[in-house]
Symmetry: C2
Subunit: 330 residues, 2 copies
């Protein structure tokens, strides 16, 4: 007798929708993938199979099923109500256009199970705005993945003011089960967490560039050859905790300096205009516009290898702990 | 006949001094390592040998020499003048205390070759302050490495207003020859580049924490499982260039949002006090203070593996380009 799999509805068959389908099916869920555009759906299974084969051949796959087996648990449909009505989890991943998303949620609202999780993959829209008029707005949250989600584990979980605590907890557990790293927010804020941090780095970069302190290449290099390698393994408070020693010592020591530096240059001002053109000229010397797609694959390959490296080291560490060679941290 | 090796004087035999000694000797330089404290010097060669053996056994060493052979080119002395007088490059790495550093530079100033590069490893002092009174101040700059320098390639090159262009160019070439990634600054600024960017991330983290948007764990996770993996390979303008598509499109698109977000919360305020204690309580649950040293080794192992991973992928890419399978970027 076939086991009863939990059902997930994924709405939208673009890159993010396909990534969710891969992640959920790898973790043993039954996935229904919906798209309005039947033509778009016709290539989805081939595409997913190709991705899974590549991952498997590189030793980067996550699940225990072989690709053929796994994809038996992905069904496709252009009928939204069919897809959604008995799903315990509904993952919206349609284009980043407010009206398009809102229309989907209205339709889903009428047919979804009362206790289902209803999630948007938006990177920029506030959950309160997306869900204000829904009957099921307590079931609603944003789960924002980072590209490429199969290799970058962070997913931001953003509640609206009315999202139930139970939905947040279940969503968190769900992401852990998929092997993702849930960044659970306590309340919504524009830019969420990741983009705000990214913008903070970009803002400081822009300031340094504008003030003529360092060039485009130097700014990039400071990150990929300096800060990036540590941030691949540790967050800002973890770094401070190690260096302090202890995060309190660190913050007490650098707090006044940081405050002074932040006040010293004033706001970054609007990015864009002539300086942005200058930056683009520099960047095009490195990667011409017609080779960006290729360079994105370059990035994806490296991030995938880093993801595997981290997993391999963690497994090795787990083994050493089990063998009593290493004392686990609390 | 023995080949004539270029001579480097490294002043100070702490972690940074030893790292410089390793890097320069790996690259084929003759290194003279100086410390006032002869007792401290007695263990240096054993320590360097241990580090080199570990690196070699893990396939992480850089040079082509075996450890014994390489260390034949490192000599130790407690005589500063002897060490410095015929060196083409002088790397100061004494404790981060202004008066201690200034005293070293005064002594060096009297005996150094007129065309030698005179460099401080300081992470926080401005080169103009350190070198103002030196006869050889045109030869002076800061070269600030990032821990651990053998695996994190970034080195910030910071000129004083009077540092000669020739010294900056030679210093840059020197770092490239060591296999480091020089971040060449055009003028000095407090915090240099890396720390300013690190402080920008930390400032935003503090703000998000203070506003109750997300907890300590969420902030750390957003970085190590989200932003970090991309920053391990790409700087902020490179990320924007890929996502834009093109950095100008990216900056034009997000510029207004970034400006608005930056203005929306006001300054971060002084870090420290009660909230810092709360952060410390959280962090201690993860890593108790008496296990920080162990956790630093945990970090170092991971960063070393990432460094090797990057090198291996780059070598593979180079091979594919040589075989005509891949078209090089400009």
């Amino acid at each position: 007798m076939a086991e009863q799999r939990e059902k997930v509805a994924v709405i939208g068959s673009g890159q993010i929708g396909k990534s969710w389908a891969l992640l959920f099916s790898s973790a043993g869920f039954q996935v229904c993938l919906h798209d309005n555009d039947s033509a778009q759906l016709s290539n989805v299974l081939e595409d997913l199979k190709g991705q899974l084969m590549t991952l498997t051949s590189q030793g980067l796959s996550r699940g225990k099923l072989d690709p053929e087996e796994q994809l038996k648990h992905v069904t496709l449909t252009d009928n939204l109500a069919e897809c959604v009505k008995d799903a315990g989890v509904i993952m919206e991943a349609v284009p980043e256009v407010m009206e398009v998303k809102k229309k989907v949620f209205e339709q889903v609202d009428d047919v979804m199970k009362d206790d289902a999780i209803l999630s948007s993959s938006t990177s920029s829209m506030l959950p309160s705005v997306l869900s204000a008029d829904l009957k099921h707005r307590q079931q609603f949250l944003v789960m924002h993945p980072v590209n490429p989600p199969f290799h970058v584990r962070a997913v931001e979980l953003v509640p609206a003011p009315w999202t139930s605590g139970d939905v947040m907890q279940r969503s968190r557990a769900l992401m852990v089960r998929l092997g993702q790293a849930p960044v659970v927010m306590k309340k919504e804020i524009e830019g969420f967490v990741l983009n705000r941090m990214q913008f903070a780095i970009l803002g400081e970069s822009w300031r340094l560039l504008k003030e003529g302190v360092v060039g485009v290449d130097g700014i990039n290099k400071a990150v990929w050859s300096g800060l990036g390698p540590r941030y691949a393994f540790l967050g800002p408070f973890q770094v401070g905790h190690l260096n302090g020693p202890g995060i309190k010592t660190y913050l007490d020591k650098y707090g006044p300096t940081i405050l002074r530096l932040q006040s010293s240059m004033g706001p970054a001002g609007l990015m864009g205009g002539e300086l942005a053109e200058e930056v683009e000229r520099e960047m095009i010397k490195e990667v011409p516009l017609d080779r960006l797609a290729e360079r994105r694959r370059w990035r994806e390959v490296r991030i995938a290898h880093l993801s595997k490296l981290k997993r391999d080291i963690d497994l090795q560490e787990k083994k050493e702990i089990e063998e009593g060679k290493l004392e686990p941290l609390p």
